[in-house]
């Protein structure tokens, strides 16, 4: 084996490893799910505050919405795992990042507020900042510029939310959810669908 052959062999191996390590495209389902679930919780909180039903009602709303969100997430995870074509380290890391971010958000909401350490007005901006961080990590692992924009959107939105008070925070947070969770979720879902149909088309062509 010549020096040139050995070198080209190593370059080839490195290229394949780099290519295979990349996480597959997000199917956007979790963005839509959590956007809708938290959106419903925000709308109910808005009306709860308007009707002066604060306290137990708001806790009950958030607790139920989060439990429903997790149940659906587990159903999606179970279905996706069955259809998964490969398991990459990056894909696993994205999953862990979002589970970690979800637990962090739950601790902030369900422990920070009852303990009266975090005021109501601060919950949305803090959660938005955590969402920005989780989106940022996902964007780097998937090498997706689109998700990076979503992450920056959450961070900028979080900064704005810190300057708002009372009911305005929930309203602005609702707008952010549609802009940075539901809309990106729909975009990612259609991209994923398109990639799947392109793959099947290539398969038909090669058959």
């Amino acid at each position: 084996m010549t020096n040139h052959t050995a070198e080209s062999e190593l370059i080839y191996i490195k290229k394949i490893i780099d290519d295979s390590r990349q996480a597959t495209l997000d199917n956007g389902k979790y963005y839509i799910l959590w956007g809708v679930v938290v959106g419903i919780a925000s709308i109910l909180t808005y009306f709860g505050v308007k009707q002066r039903l604060e306290g137990n009602f708001i806790n009950w709303v958030w607790m139920n919405c989060i439990v429903i969100g997790w149940i659906f997430s587990f159903i999606f995870m179970f279905k996706d795992r069955k259809k998964e074509r490969n398991k990459t380290f990056a894909g696993k890391m994205i999953g862990h990042t979002w589970v970690g971010a979800g637990i962090t958000m739950a601790v902030i909401a369900f422990v920070g507020i009852p303990a009266k350490v975090i005021p109501y007005d601060a919950i949305c901006p803090v959660i938005a900042a955590v969402a920005g961080g989780a989106n940022y990590i996902s964007s780097r692992l998937q090498k997706s510029g689109f998700i990076l924009i979503v992450a920056i959107g959450w961070w900028i939105g979080s900064g704005i939310l810190f300057y708002l008070n009372g009911i305005d925070v929930i309203l602005a947070y609702g707008i952010m959810l549609s802009l940075f969770s539901i809309v990106p979720g729909i975009v990612l879902y259609y991209r994923w669908k398109k990639e799947l149909s392109d793959e099947s088309l290539n398969e038909v062509k090669s058959a």
């Binding site: 084996m1 010549t2 020096n3 050995a6 070198e7 062999e9 190593l10 080839y12 191996i13 394949i16 490893i17 780099d18 290519d19 295979s20 390590r21 069955k82 259809k83 074509r85 490969n86 398991k87 990459t88 380290f89 696993k92 793959e199």
Partner: protein, 103 residues
């Protein structure tokens, strides 16, 4: 003179397609047939033959199951495969090093 020893080259791995299969499987925990085919640009028949060779050498393992009533073969690398691939890479590196030293 180069210190290259041809006997050190693993005959099972010394094939472009089999090296490519091992490189794919070393970078993921497991992968199905379609994913490996996509990454290696191999045809179905060719890929099956080479996967079988790697399986016979004990470098990879296959799990067969059904997804949506369709058969699916999922492959993963064994410990023996890991060690063999590592040795193969080290061998390639030593060839490059020795040749550079000889110049």
């Amino acid at each position: 003179m180069s210190e290259f020893d041809y006997q050190k080259i693993d005959e099972v791995l010394h094939s472009r397609i089999r090296t490519a299969i091992m490189a794919v499987l070393i970078s993921v925990e497991e992968a199905d047939f379609k994913f490996i085919r996509e990454k290696t640009n191999a045809t179905d028949g060719n890929l099956s033959v080479h996967l079988k060779k790697l399986e016979d050498a004990g470098y990879i393992k296959v799990k067969k199951n059904f997804v949506d009533r369709k058969p699916q073969s999922v492959y993963n690398i064994t410990n023996k495969g890991h060690k063999a691939f590592e040795a193969y890479i080290l061998n390639l590196e030593s060839i490059i090093k020795n040749n550079k030293g000889a110049k």
